[in-house]
Symmetry: C2
Subunit: 233 residues, 2 copies
Amino acid sequence: MTLTDTNSWTGIREVLLRRIHDRVWQPGEQIPHEADLAQEFGCARTTVNRALRDLAESGLVIRKRRAGTRVALNPPQRATLTIPIIREEVEALGRTYRHSLLERDLRPLPPMLHGAFQVSLGEDVLFLKTLHFADDRPYAFEERYINLKAAPGAQDMSFEAVSANEWLVHNAPYSHGDLSFFAVNADKTLSRKLDTASGTALFAMERITWSGEVPITHVRLIFAPGYRMRTEI
Amino acid sequence: MTLTDTNSWTGIREVLLRRIHDRVWQPGEQIPHEADLAQEFGCARTTVNRALRDLAESGLVIRKRRAGTRVALNPPQRATLTIPIIREEVEALGRTYRHSLLERDLRPLPPMLHGAFQVSLGEDVLFLKTLHFADDRPYAFEERYINLKAAPGAQDMSFEAVSANEWLVHNAPYSHGDLSFFAVNADKTLSRKLDTASGTALFAMERITWSGEVPITHVRLIFAPGYRMRTEI
DNA sequence: TAAGATAATATGCATGCACATATTAACGTG
DNA sequence: CACGTTAATATGTGCATGCATATTATCTTA
């Protein structure tokens, strides 16, 4: 009856999904064991396991050893959003990308970042101010601090040809990071750079990345008015 | 030498991860076949497969049949963010949640939503305006349209005791949706509701969900000033 | 030589089995 | 009856194997 092949793990996942959607198995309710399901579908337990694991990953079911598998009470609304390199994002829109480096100097780490960005306080960090353009219209304004201990090569880069973002992605890969999104009002500087009225609400993103225990970079990106970050769930 | 057990799939994943981080395998470079790696680690190919599949899922390697596995050129910066139910988000902050229903009526679908929200144009939709509080301070302002064809029970709900969000999560589960984030300036209404100055930049989220082909609801959530959406990568 | 058929190969997936591990239920024992 | 011990059980994971499938390389043939 189903279009999907029933004894492939994806097929089984679809069937289970439908049962959850159609309330055959109520939220919070325990569903049959892997072994029973395997028998029902006439496949190996491994295959059922694969399907259930996938559902558990997306948060739809909760699995516990011995306790069994149950339908999640409130399926967490998870969204995976891809944060592209700005150049790629702009080019994907069919527009021409360029960027211009507004500032570049060594300076002590601003106190605001002392907590998150644990560098010995004497050390200078590389500070960059960049403006990103799409078809010669400002697209995003970037302020970035780079820990030279984590990315020593950065000191010799001008970051005029290749953006710091891209260079870092390729030369100082991170293991983890913190990401946050918020809204800011355009101050005088921002409004001039992004060619908008002062006070305009702007979408902003802040990111700190580490390689293990070592902080690599702190970026603050502020997008031109009208920017939307989209994703599907 | 490694702390992790080397012949568990997670252990193998760690080893592979380190090789990628340490540039033993350069970006774009092809890495050994599953079979070779299995021999190197002294485990079954299945186990290597599991580790590689996991790395592929997080976008660090690209796998193609016959073509082999190679390190991703620009590892997409993917972030999974969990969009919690507001009540849970507020309570997780250790604050008391409540909400108040400001408006509730049936009305034709506003033209703005005709494109996304395909309801026969004659049909009315349920419109709700809600203000969410944390410790009696405004937390977020919500405007919501509910397709009564997708969630007929909604017409009989007052949504005063239980929020529309929670009710829908439990009674009209969606199969997919569109999600977007942006910034808006507080207009007169918003500034009064959210107790802030007019013009303040506010973080906003818009979401449309469907069950199959049928649209369920359109929500626009505007958060009080200072809100940050955080996640880890 | 160019285009199409064919073989080789790396990953994808299913199976059956065994053992590990977390968690709950049952069981004693004081 | 309370509390700690033990057994039962469902999921987690590893292994060996075989076949499926996509893609590339090679070999034909006109």
